[in-house]
Structures are given as C-alpha cells and as structure tokens.
C-alpha cells in the first residue's frame, strides 16, 4: 500500500535502466488460441455439436432428444448432469418433456382407421401419426398445430396436442409434416432450433452490432469479459454495451444515462471548449496534450481550465495538480450544486481523455508515415515495432484512464455505496485510488508526448533515446493499469457487502478478439511464420490469430511475451487491434 504514496512526483522515473535489457521490447501477440469463439451462421451447427454429442453419449439418446433436454436446461450441460445425479433419469426426462418410447412410434397401417380427437373425423391409419408419448391424431391436425406454434415463436418447445400431455414433439416429425405444406416455415423451425443455442445459452450471445453482422460470440468460463467480434465491434459480453472496464456494468449504465440527462446543461457549457482564464475566449483543443496555451499567450490546464505558469513539462505543470477532487467548503451548503460540480469534475476528465483518445487515433496515420519514412532512411535502425507497440499501449491505457473517472464517480459517490463505507474509509480509499490514477495519467501523457515527436527527422541516437523512453513508459503504464485493476477488484469492489459489481479483468494484450470456430484451424499453425499483410479491422485478423496460436511464442495470460515474434512481415495489421471502440464518443 505504501508505495502508492511514494510516487507523488508525477514523473515516476524508471530508475532501473538495466531491466530494459532483459525486456528488449514488448510485442503485441494475439492471445493464444483465444477461448472466445465467433459463431457464424455457418458454424452454428458445429458449435453445438460438442454439447449435443456429450449428452447423446452419456444418456445414449438420439440427437433430437438431446437437443430437447439441452434446450430445457438452457444448454447448461453441468446443470443437466446435476439433475441427472440428483433426481435420476426418468425425472430428468419428464421435466424436459422427453419421451423415449421406441414401441409407440410404430407406423399405423392404412387398413385400420383412427378417430382424430381434434377434427373429430375418422381417418385411415396412414393419415394419422402417433407421437412418442402415445397420442395419435391425424396428420392434418398435427401440421396445423405445428404451424400455429412455429408462428407463435414456440418452435423450441412444441408440446403434444393432448390435454395435459407435456411431451415435446419429435423435431423430425414436425419438420417432415410442416415442410410438406410450408417448406419455408420448416426452414424457420430449423433455424429457431439451431438458434436456441444462442438465445437460451448464457455463455453465447449475439454480437450487438448494427447493422447486425450475423455473428454470435461464445465465451468459455467467465461471462464478465470484453470481447471483439470478427466484425470489429468490441463490446462488454455481460451487458452488450461498449467496453467500459474498470466500470462495472451498472456503473456504466448509470453513467451513460447521466451523461445523456445532464447533456443539456453540462455538455453545452463545458464539453467542446474551455474559456481561456485570461481573455475568456473559448479555446479548442487540437492535439493530444492536456496543456494548452491561448493565442493571447496565457497557458492553462485543459483538465481544470485553471491558469498555470509557463514553467511546465509535458506531464505536469509546476505547482499545479488537479487530478484530485477537492471539495469546496462553500459548495457544501448547496447539495445539488455540489453534486453537479462533482459530476462535472469527473465528466470533464472522462471527456478530456476520450477526446485525447480520438485525437490520438487520428495520430496513428501520421505515425505510420513517420515509420515508413524512417525505414527508408539509411540507418542502422531497422526495427520500429516499438512505435506501434507504444501507440497500442497508449490507446489501451488511455481507455482505462477515461473509464476510471466514471468508476471513481460512483465508487466514491453516495449513489451506489452510501452504506458500504464510513466517511473515513471512503476518503482513504479515494486518496489511494486517485494517487494511482494520477500516476497513470502522468505516464500516459508522457507516452503520448514521445509518440508525437517527429522522430523521422531525428538522428539515430536521439531516436534510440525516444525508443527507450517509449518502451519504458509502455511497461510502466501497463503495470499501472494492472495495479489499478487489482486495486479495484481487491480493495474496492472486493470489499462490498451489499450488491456485486463485476468488472472484466485487465488484459495487457487488450480486448480478446474472438476467433472463428472452425474444424481445421490447427492445420495451419506451423506452416507459416510470417505475418501476411492483412486488411485492417476485418475478419482477416482471425486467421492471424489462428496461425499464431500454434506457434508457441506467446505467454499465457496478462504478461507480454518477451520473445520476439518475427517482424519482417510487420505491417498495418497490428493496428486493427488498437482501434478505438466505435461507441466511445457517444457522449
């Protein structure tokens, strides 16, 4: 805990330069064989095969019975097995409406006649169908029943027509009878059955993209995570909104709503411009830096709008610190006003960082240019992956930083956790958190500064120096982000008595991109050791994942691989992982 206090100077100098040797460079390597899978229309059947097969083998059932069971137990195989152990097979089956009765399915001969209780007509045996539950009605009535149920959207659980019979009709019979009269409806029935795997399964969800990309995402263990679909959309798997960690889903929902509600007043006043503290002209920010100077010559801090001296470095202004929320004594008298100011404080910082984020995303074009210019030059420096890695780290940390403000707003506010902490506890925790936040902020700004340097025009030794700084700062910001998440999970959210707030865990490597579910992807793993040029942000990225996943060059989780991946094919494909989420500028 103590070291949180020790880093009071914003510089956070990386003292141990030797450690850089071992570090060499951090390299973005996609997660090994990501456990998150994209399910497309084509692979939907394959995706559920595994679960179906397990149930079929275990209970020696046909596929349609296994599906009926799985639909009933919402594709939770563990739950299904628990019921089997606890209550036994007959109860398991009857609860799900499964009737396994081979004898009953015998076909009726055409010579006999059957009284159908539905249409109340006498029909010959070949025009009637007996279900596994033993109930027999004429085919026309069955068909009509199925059509009504499919149109009602009940395809997944079509029950027998007999009163108080809870048996689920055999899907093959349904398909067969319906397709004779309405082939397209039979297709719809099949699709409903298949899509049950997505609709009724808490580990699988549709990608929330609009227009819809047609994909669904399956996660393996933890539903509290952030994922990226092959369509490029990054989202929170738990609440399906944009990625928002370290905010919890509830915090984010409240925050978005608040931003919308308050937009009339707050946004209008403060969002787009800042008045110069001297001449009061509105000043627009046009770069990633938080230190602006007005044309009148006055320097001021973009975060708080306060006038500052000219004496400043990139990350700090001499004698100026505004990352902390300071409660003004006068405001206390007027609660509403205080709340508004409090909100504005957090919102301004949140907004400032998301704005920087957007500006920095534009920066990547220029940086790419600089890289290619540098690569052309006669120089002993050939490797510029540190630039893109640094840029990636900047984006990642900037996001964490901007979402940490709404988090702090709720964590230390009275709206959600009023009774969770005493005032003293709250203040202490807030101090700790803000300290971390400030450290991160300082280093992110520094990283931003170095990446904006025109290194393509610098001599080699200066470029080497910048390289060192960028690598150094990348490691620092990564560690600070990690620490911040740990602090949130263990010291802040972990201590809550009432209510649970879960956040997606921090991943150094960024949001996990779901890999496509396919049967043959492992074949490719060792055939290529070169990155192919890939299109930006398209599904092409997945094949990269697939190839890499087998190469054994990446560590498991969280940490960067220290091994160098091949860099000769290094190209723009790296950037697609760094793109900001589309929704980040919604406010």
């Amino acid at each position: 805990m103590e070291d949180y206090f020790s880093g009071d100077d914003d510089d956070y100098v990386y003292s141990d330069r030797d450690s850089l040797d071992g570090l060499e460079n951090e390299e973005w390597v996609p997660p090994k064989g990501s456990s998150t899978k994209v399910i497309t229309r084509e692979s939907l059947l394959a995706a559920q095969k595994e679960d179906l097969r397990r149930v079929m083998e275990l209970l020696s059932l046909g596929e349609h019975h296994a599906r009926t069971l799985l639909i009933h137990y919402r594709w939770d195989v563990e739950k299904l097995l628990a019921v089997l152990v606890e209550k036994g097979k007959p109860s398991l089956f009857s609860e799900a409406g499964v009737t396994v009765n081979e004898g009953a399915n015998s076909s009726l001969s055409s010579s006999s006649s059957v009284m159908c209780d539905i249409c109340m007509e006498e029909v010959s045996g070949d025009k009637a169908t007996r279900m596994a539950c033993g109930h027999c009605f004429c085919k026309d009535c069955w068909t009509e029943h199925f059509i009504v149920k499919i149109n009602e959207g009940q395809s997944k659980r079509i029950r027998c027509m007999a009163h108080k019979c809870y048996a689920i009709c055999d899907e093959a019979v349904v398909r067969n009878l319906v397709s004779k009269r309405h082939p397209d409806l039979a297709e719809k029935f099949d699709r409903f059955l298949l899509e049950s795997y997505i609709e009724d399964n808490k580990m699988v969800k549709w990608c929330p993209s609009t227009p819809h990309c047609g994909n669904a995402i399956r996660v393996e263990e933890d539903e509290f995570c952030e994922v990226e679909c092959t369509c490029g959309l990054q989202f929170c798997f738990s609440c399906l909104s944009e990625t928002h960690s370290p905010c919890s889903c509830l915090m984010w929902e409240l925050w978005i709503k608040k931003c919308r509600d308050e937009s009339e007043t707050v946004n209008w006043i403060t969002v787009h411009t800042k008045p110069c503290p001297k001449c009061h002209k509105p000043v627009e920010k046009n770069g990633g830096c938080n230190l602006v100077s007005c044309i009148c010559g006055q320097a001021f801090c973009w975060l708080c709008g306060g006038a500052t001296g000219r004496e400043h470095t990139w990350s700090s202004i001499a004698g100026h610190s505004c990352g902390r929320y300071v409660e003004n004594g006068e405001q206390k008298t007027e609660r509403a006003k205080r709340d508004l100011y409090r909100y504005m404080h957090y919102h301004n910082r949140y907004k400032a960082h998301t704005d920087s984020f957007k500006l920095e995303s534009k920066l990547r074009e220029t940086i790419l240019e600089k890289v290619s210019i540098s690569e052309e030059r006669e120089s002993r420096l050939r490797d510029f992956s540190w630039v893109t890695n640094g840029l990636y780290r900047l984006f990642r940390s900037r996001r964490v930083l901007s979402y940490s403000y709404p988090f702090a707003f709720y964590m230390f506010g009275e709206e959600l956790f009023k009774d969770e902490m005493t005032k003293e506890e709250r203040e202490l925790k807030q101090l700790l958190f803000e300290d971390q936040q400030q450290q991160l902020e300082g280093n992110v700004e520094k990283l931003s500064k170095f990446l904006e340097e025109p290194f393509d025009q610098y001599p080699d030794d200066k470029v080497m120096d910048i390289r060192m700084q960028v690598i150094n700062l990348s490691v620092i910001t990564d560690n600070l982000c990690k620490k911040m998440y740990e602090c949130i999970e263990n010291d802040l959210l972990g201590c809550l008595q009432l209510g649970t707030h879960n956040i997606a865990p921090y991943k150094s490597k960024g949001i996990e991109r779901a890999s496509e579910l396919s049967a043959c992807w492992s074949n490719k793993s060792n055939t290529t050791d070169k990155y192919q040029p890939l299109e930006c942000g398209t599904s092409g990225g997945t094949s990269e994942n697939e190839r890499l996943s087998g190469s054994g060059s990446s560590d498991d989780s969280g940490c960067f691989s220290r091994k160098r991946a091949k860099k000769d094919g290094f190209g723009p494909s790296f950037f697609d992982l760094n793109l900001p989420a589309e929704g980040i500028d919604r406010n």
């Binding site: 539905i118 249409c119 109340m120 007509e121």
Partner: protein, 194 residues
C-alpha cells in the same frame, strides 16, 4: 381458418347432453365466429341458482388457438374481472390444447367458479376481500348472483325504455336488441361501440 366442421360437431355434441351438463352453446351470428355460452352456477357456491352468460369468439386458428371467452353476466369472483368480465384461466391461455372443446372449456370455467384461485387473481379487489374477509365476499358474490345472474324479469319494452333513457334513439335500440337476441347488456355494448 376455423375448422367449421369441428365447431358444428361440437355444437351438436353440446346440445345432445345439455340436460346432463347444463351447459349451452349457441351461435350468435351465422358465421360461427361469435358464440354465446351459458353455465349454471355450481351448487353449494354463492353462484348457485344463477345462469351465467359467456361471450365466445373463435380465433382464426381454432381449435389450434384457444377460444376467447369473457363473462357477459357480472360476476363477483377473484379470477374474473368485476369490470370487464375477463377470465383468468390457464387453459384459455398457454395451457390450451386442441384436444379441448368449447364444452370442456366452459366446464373448466364452471369449475373455476367453485374453486377460486385468489393467489392468481384477475381482480385484485375481489381477491383481497376473498382472502381477508371471506364472509363479506360470500355476501357480495351472492348479491351479484341475485342481481345479475337470475333470469331477467324485464320485458322487452322495459329494456327498450331503459336504454332510451340512457339517450339512445328508440329505433336503434330496438334493432340492436334484436341483433343481440334481446340481451340488454350486449345491446348496450353494441350501441356504445357505434
């Protein structure tokens, strides 16, 4: 499409054992979409002695979709709306099975009269009274049966006069009464709906 041949058969079947069941189903119009059913109040309940009229509308998908039923006669019962006559009964909703018929459905409604389910109420006021003050509930239910479910003593002329007093033109009142078979409540409904 409604399976009319089945509806015809149901009507025949129903009239055949009307004596035994006391349940009557008659078509209101020629098209067999609107029907009218009556059930006698179950013996030993506050509904005893009353004849309860139920309006039946068959949906397009009948018998694969449940018939729509509501009480025309006002009833004081936890599962029947005292305002609209709407019935809260599972077999008229998701528990409907094509193997059920109008007669069995009406029998279920009759059974509901003798066995209210106040935990799944349609009318919260009635249900509360049922649970908290059963005696008052019995009294009110009995009073409603007396008032609304006993054969109307009003003659046609009195009905006409009553409706005219409400402000409808006499010719229209007469034609409406005729169209609904002399029932003043239905006639009023018809007049109000325009």
């Amino acid at each position: 499409m409604i399976d009319f041949s089945r509806v015809q058969k149901e009507l025949q079947e129903c009239s055949r054992d009307m004596e035994a069941s006391g349940i009557k189903v008659t078509p209101v119009s020629d098209n067999l979409v609107n029907l009218s059913g009556t059930i006698p109040g179950p013996i030993g309940t506050p509904y005893e002695g009353g004849i309860f009229k139920i309006d039946i509308t068959l949906p397009d998908g009948y018998p694969f979709e449940p018939p729509k039923m509501h009480f025309v006669t006002k009833v004081w019962h936890p599962n029947v709306s005292s305002q609209s006559g709407a019935i809260c009964l599972d077999i008229l909703k998701d528990q409907w099975s094509p193997a059920l018929t109008l007669k069995t459905a009406l029998l279920s409604v009759q059974a509901l009269l003798s066995a209210p389910e106040p935990d799944d109420p349609q009318d919260a006021v009635v249900a509360q009274q049922y649970l908290r003050d059963y005696q008052t509930f019995l009294g009110t239910a009995r009073y409603w049966t007396e008032t609304f479910a006993k054969t109307s003593s009003l003659g046609v002329e009195e009905k006409v006069q009553k409706l005219v007093e409400m402000g409808f033109p006499e010719a229209l009142v007469r034609s409406s009464l005729e169209a609904v078979g002399g029932d003043e409540n239905l006639a009023l409904e018809k007049l109000c709906s325009g």
